[in-house]
Symmetry: C2
Subunit: 352 residues, 2 copies
C-alpha cells in the first residue's frame, strides 16, 4: 500500500523539517531531546528568554504581563504528558489529504514544568461574561492564503483545568527552540495543535474564537461543504516497539524464531487505556496483552505480550481501547483533512 | 518541479524518522539539540554508557579495550564540525534515486568532545603492514539483502589525522541516543556516513576493506555497470537563511519590500570557502556576499548580502566556491545513488 503513496514535493518539504519519533524510542518512558515529534506550522522564531514578555489582556480587570522571572516566582508544577499530532496517520488514507504526511510516529512523552494557566488568569481577573481564552504564538506565516500568527483558543473552563499549563522546561531542561522556547502552552489530553508554542499573548474573549486553526483547519469533515466538528482530545492509539532488526529501505522487520517479547505503548486523551490486544495474523485472532500502569494521568502506558514465533511472514498489529469504550479501527477512517486517523498499527514481520 | 516528486511510501517512512535541520536554524553557530540532521540506517540501539566497551584489535601488537572511563582519562579535544549527509539533495534529481529523500537540510554543526583515534590506535600498536582501520557500530540491519552491522573504514593515514576523533559529548552534553550515544566516530571534512555512530569496535586490517557501505552504497556511479568512485569529502554548499515568513504548505517565502539583510552559511570539506555569490534573478546576475570567518577549520562560515527588494516574484539563490576551485553547479548533477548533489540553493520569494 505504502509504495503507491505518490507524495508530492510540498509534502516532502514538510516531512524533511517536521519529524516523528523513531519507534525504537518507545523504549524510553520520557522521549529524549530531539526524538519527540515536531510539527511547526511556520518558522521557529528567534526569541530570547531574558527579554521575552507574555501579555495577558482582553476581557479582564487588569491587563498584566509576565517575564520568565515573574512566572518562575509563581507555584511550579510538572506534568508528564503524551502529545500527539492531530494529523498522525494522515498519509495512510486513500485518497490522501495533502498536508504534513504523517504515518505513525507523530508522538512523544515529556515531563513539562511551569505554571498553571489558571494562576495567570487569576492575576488578570476575567470578566464575568468571558467565554474563551485565546493563545497567540510569536510564529507568523501564510496559511490558506491568510497571513496570521498561530492562534488557538480554549473555553474558560478548559483553560482553568489545573493541569493546563505554561511550560518553560521539558524533561528538566529549558525548552529547546523547536519545542516553543522560551514559553509554551501544554494542554494534557488534547492533540498537539492546542499546545501553542512560542507563547506571546493570552487574551480573554467574550465570544467564541473563530480563528483559522479552528474554522478552516483542525476539523473532522467529510467534504468541503461539511462544516464538521472540531478536533480536540486524543483518540486512543497503540504502537509496537520495533521487533528484531529492520531493512534499511523498507523498514520491514526481520526476527529470529522462538519466544519474542513484544512490547509497546498506548494512550488516549479521553481517559485510561483499559486494554491493548495484539494480533499476529492480520487481525483474525486477538490476544490480550499485559498493561503496565500509565506514567501519569495524561501519559502513555506500556504493554507486553509474548509471541511464540515460527518461521514465516506475519502481519502483526496492536489496538488499544480506552475507558470510554473508544477502540482503534482495523483500517483508517477517512476524513478530508486527515485528522484523528488512529487505525491499528500494522507491521510486516518476517520470522526466519 | 517539486510538486511532481511522487515520493514512495518507503521513502516517506524514511523521511518520517530521519530529519533535516529546519533552515531557520542556520541562525545558530552550533545547531541546538534535536535540530541537527539525522540519518540512521537501521535502529537506534539501546546502549548503556556505564557498561559500554570499545574493543580495538585486528592487526595490532596488543588488542585492547576501553570503557568510557578509560577514554575520559586520555587527552580530551573538542572539534567544531559541520556534518552533512552524502545524500543531501538527492530528491532534487530526475529521475530520482529511491532512498532517503533529502532536499537541502541534511546538515548541522556541533562541537564534539572526545579523544583522538590516533591515541587509541597508538595504545594497540598497528602492525607495520596495516593499511586501513574498520569502525563497526552496534546497529544491525538488512541492507541490499545483506544482514550487517554498520561499518566504514578509513586508511591508516586518514584515521591518524589528529582531528579524527571518538566523541562522547556533543555541544557540551553527553551524546543523545540518536547521535550515537555513548560513543561515535567523527571524521571532520567527510560526509556523515563515515562518522560511525554507536561505535563498538575498531579493527586494523592489512587489506583494503570491502564492506557493503564502501562497495555497494556510497559510490558516485552513472549506471549499475559503472563501478564509480567512493564518496568521501564534502562538496561545497551554501544555504540561505529563510527570508520573511513562510507559507505553511508550499514553504515559499513572503517578504516586505525594502532593504533585506540576506544571510546564510557555507562550507566545504576540501578547504576554506573563498566566496559565496547571491542571485535574485534565477542566476542571470551574481553578487559577491561578505564572508564571515568560519567557526573552525571544518565548520561552516556565515555570509551576508543586502538586497534592495522591489515588489515581485524572485528566484533567489546562493552558491559557494572553495579554495580548491570547486563551485556549486546551477542545477544538480545526476548520479545513480544521488550522492554529493550540491546545486545552488534556489528559493522562491514573493516581495509584496
Amino acid at each position: 500500500m505504502l509504495s503507491e503513496a505518490g507524495i508530492t514535493g510540498e509534502e516532502l518539504a514538510l516531512a524533511a523539517r517536521n519529524h516523528g519519533m523513531p519507534l525504537e524510542a518507545l523504549r524510553y518512558d520520557l522521549t529524549p531531546a530531539g526524538l519527540h515529534y515536531l510539527l511547526i506550522h511556520y518558522d521557529i522564531p528567534a526569541l530570547e528568554a531574558e527579554s521575552h514578555v507574555l501579555t495577558v489582556g482582553g476581557a479582564v480587570e487588569d491587563a498584566v504581563s509576565f517575564t520568565l522571572a515573574d512566572l518562575a516566582a509563581l507555584p511550579q508544577r510538572t506534568e508528564t504528558v503524551t502529545l500527539e499530532c492531530a494529523g498522525n496517520g494522515r498519509a495512510l488514507l486513500r485518497p490522501r489529504p495533502v498536508s504534513q504526511p504523517w504515518l505513525f510516529e507523530a508522538v512523544g512523552t515529556a515531563a513539562w514544568t511551569g505554571v498553571s494557566v489558571s494562576d495567570v488568569l487569576e492575576a488578570a481577573g476575567p470578566h464575568s461574561d468571558a467565554v474563551e481564552v485565546v493563545f497567540t504564538g510569536a510564529d507568523r506565516g501564510m496559511e490558506g492564503g491568510v497571513e496570521q500568527a498561530y492562534q488557538r483558543s480554549l473555553t474558560l473552563e478548559e483553560a482553568r483545568r489545573r493541569e493546563v499549563m505554561l511550560a518553560t522546561h521539558m524533561n528538566g531542561a529549558p525548552l529547546l527552540p523547536q519545542h516553543g522556547a522560551p514559553l509554551r502552552l501544554v494542554v494534557p489530553g488534547w492533540y498537539g495543535m492546542t499546545s501553542v508554542k512560542w507563547l506571546a499573548d493570552i487574551s480573554v474573549v467574550t465570544e467564541p474564537f473563530a480563528g483559522y486553526q479552528h474554522e478552516q483547519a483542525y476539523r473532522v469533515r467529510q467534504s468541503e461543504e461539511d462544516r464538521g466538528r472540531p478536533v480536540d482530545r486524543i483518540q486512543p492509539r497503540s504502537l509496537i516497539q520495533p521487533l528484531g532488526i529492520p531493512d534499511f529501505f523498507t523498514r520491514g522487520r526481520v526476527v529470529s524464531p522462538g519466544e519474542i517479547g513484544m512490547t509497546g505503548r498506548a494512550w488516549s486523551g479521553f481517559g485510561a487505556v483499559v486494554g491493548v490486544e495484539v494480533s499476529v495474523d492480520g487481525g483474525e485472532t486477538w490476544h490480550e496483552s499485559r498493561l503496565r500502569p500509565p506514567l501519569a494521568e495524561y501519559a502513555w502506558c506500556g504493554w507486553d505480550w509474548t509471541w511464540q514465533a515460527q518461521p514465516g511472514h506475519y502481519r502483526v498489529g496492536a489496538r488499544a481501547e480506552d475507558v470510554t469504550g473508544r477502540i482503534q479501527p482495523l483500517e483508517p477512517d477517512w476524513n478530508l483533512g486527515g485528522y484523528e486517523v488512529n487505525p491499528v498499527h500494522w507491521v510486516d514481520v518476517e520470522v526466519r
